[in-house]
């Protein structure tokens, strides 16, 4: 039904499990947003979360690096482990966790600082650069990877908030990759991007996959099919189906999955 690139099948070799979620429940106040989700995310793999708007993709994604901690009314149950360690354990430092598990948010949220500082912020606090020259290199490389370098190279000290929507989105991607996280969570990273920029970001994702694990939320089946090796389909808070991308798109088990990818339920 979708063109699944042929080289993909070969990639779907069994990788180590990077993140594993067991019986995760999320509540916003009384609203039960994630219901009983079990899911294992592999290392060096791109996993796509798909599903209709409001089904809980962002919510689940945000559980993986404990971003939901900052929402007062949000309550989480169940276990999530990364590299075998329970991330909701008291001893786990969420800061370290988030340095390891980077995130690109659904709504671009650049800091009200210069473009340079936006990207340099992460490397600075993590001490990734020894000196200014180092940092310059990191910033440039990250901006290049996010396919925005050409557009902003002359205005690096202009405000990050003065960019166009798509530019902001790419800036946020650059910011996230600058810290070289082991897992990168991307919530609709290409929603505001034109096809070319989108394909550049997809290239980036493919490149990242060589070393890291990437989770991407997307509404575009084509995109999911293009970039991911694993796909998870969410519906009304349930993880309905999870498996190899090729299989999900060509031969889904659950009827809801099929309806969704053929455009019958939303």
């Amino acid at each position: 039904m979708y063109d699944v690139p042929t080289n993909m099948e070969s990639n779907v070799e069994q990788q180590d499990i990077k993140i594993s979620a067991r019986k995760v429940q999320v509540y916003y106040g009384t609203n039960h947003a994630i219901k009983d989700v079990d899911c294992e995310i592999q290392d060096k793999t791109v996993t796509a979360f798909i599903g209709p708007s409001g089904c809980g993709k962002s919510t689940f994604l945000r559980c993986l690096n404990r971003m939901n901690d900052s929402i007062d009314i949000c309550r989480i149950e169940g276990d999530i482990t990364i590299d075998g360690q329970d991330i909701y354990d008291k001893r786990v430092d969420p800061v370290q966790l988030r340095a390891k598990v980077g995130m690109v948010f659904q709504k671009p949220n650049p800091f009200p600082k210069s473009i340079y500082d936006n990207v340099a912020y992460g490397p600075r606090i993590h001490g990734l650069a020894k000196n200014k020259a180092d940092l310059d290199v990191i910033v440039e490389r990250s901006l290049r990877r996010a396919a925005i370098w050409e557009e902003v190279k002359d205005r690096l000290d202009g405000p990050g908030t003065g960019l166009s929507g798509g530019q902001q989105q790419r800036l946020c991607i650059a910011r996230a990759v600058a810290t070289e996280p082991e897992v990168l969570l991307m919530d609709e990273p290409c929603s505001a991007l034109d096809p070319i920029a989108t394909s550049q970001v997809e290239e980036l994702i493919d490149e990242l996959r060589q070393e890291y694990s990437v989770v991407i939320v997307t509404h575009s089946m084509q995109q999911a099919a293009r970039v991911s090796q694993k796909t998870a389909f969410f519906h009304l808070g349930h993880l309905v189906e999870y498996g190899d991308t090729g299989k999900i798109f060509t031969n889904p088990v659950d009827s809801r999955t099929e309806s969704y990818i053929t455009g019958r339920i939303g």
């Binding site: 900052s70 988030r98 995130m103 949220n109 800091f111 009200p112 912020y121 606090i125 810290t179 996280p181």
Partner: protein, 430 residues
Amino acid sequence: MTDASMSDTSAGLSATDKVAAGLAKRRRKQTILQGLGLSAIGFAILMLFILVASLVSTGYKAFTQTHVTVEVYLDPEEISVERLPRGGFSDVLAASMLKIFPDVEGRAQIRSLTSILSNGAQFQLRDMVVRDNDLIGQTITIKVPASDPFDQLKKGLVDRETPEELRRVNNQQIAWFDALAERGEISEPLNWGLITNADSRFPELAGLKGALVGSFWALLVCFLIAFPIGIGAAIYLEEFAKRNRVSDLIEVNINNLAAVPSVVFGLLALAVFLGWFGMQRSAPLVGGLTLSLMTMPTIIIATRAALKAVPPSIREAALGVGASRQQVVFHHVLPLAMPGILTGTIIGLAQALGETAPLLLIGMNAFITSAPEWPTDAATALPTQIFIWADSPERGFVSRTSAAILVLLVFLVTMNGVAIYLRNKFERRW
């Protein structure tokens, strides 16, 4: 019937027409709001203007001071190196006045003649001689302040028409003074003494140096304590404290402290700083500590409100790249909240600068004729100095009180200038 037809026609109207129909009214509302806003500001500024104008109209006269130029022969008979710093300086001055008016005789007459010169004149002369002993035996020309009643006379504040017995200066004295004026010995230069002198019983000598230094120390102490502690407390409460009974308790507490009358802080200071810690009465250090207790709630409340206003997306962004919560706060939230924090600080310190009541209780309303050097030296502060001067019977203090208030306002504006500059720098919309 009519109803139905009405609704029919209105249903027929397109949204654009409906908008257009309501527009005049809405525009009027906007104009009203704008007008109200402008008149509110106008009112506030007008009040300030009236205040300042009334201060200026009574106070400007205190910015000059009548001086008398006299030629003095420093008679070695009266003044000798051995007897310094004591010596007959007032007699020497009297002698030089008598040289100008040779026909004045009798103790009472001479006294009423010399009373043209300020009591400080002799000390001014003395200090010159102490500095340079060689002056003894020479004749020098010095400019000394005229005493207050004559200062008033020169400034036209004494009505020459009032019956003689009701004036502080009699006709004879006025005649002398006019004679001096004719000889060109009377001048009215800028009154630097208002800033460079410490307090005095004599309006013509009284200055604000002690109060300025005292207020400076007190505010410095107040700022150094209230600003970091206030911000620290606010950050903790707003960003880190779990919402539970304890944090509620602290919150209620802080709001409540803002409502505690300032006298009560004075009482507390009296009991704790003076009583327990045995600190000195009247010391700006104690004053500053007391004022900081008052200022802190203001800064805390302002800071919390400002922190609250920072949108959560900024926090999320920073958390997302792996910043710790303290890093989020110190790198992103605090700078964005700075304008609000500075507003709180400006207002808190402004209040502290103008606060009188608690200082009365810890004795910062003392009369001290020397300026403090350290925060532990006894001193007054500007508002208490104003309080003392306002209560002084001498006429000269009426204008000096207003002048002192103007000086305080200048002090306030300078102090706020820095903060306001910073606030404008930090301010941005996102």
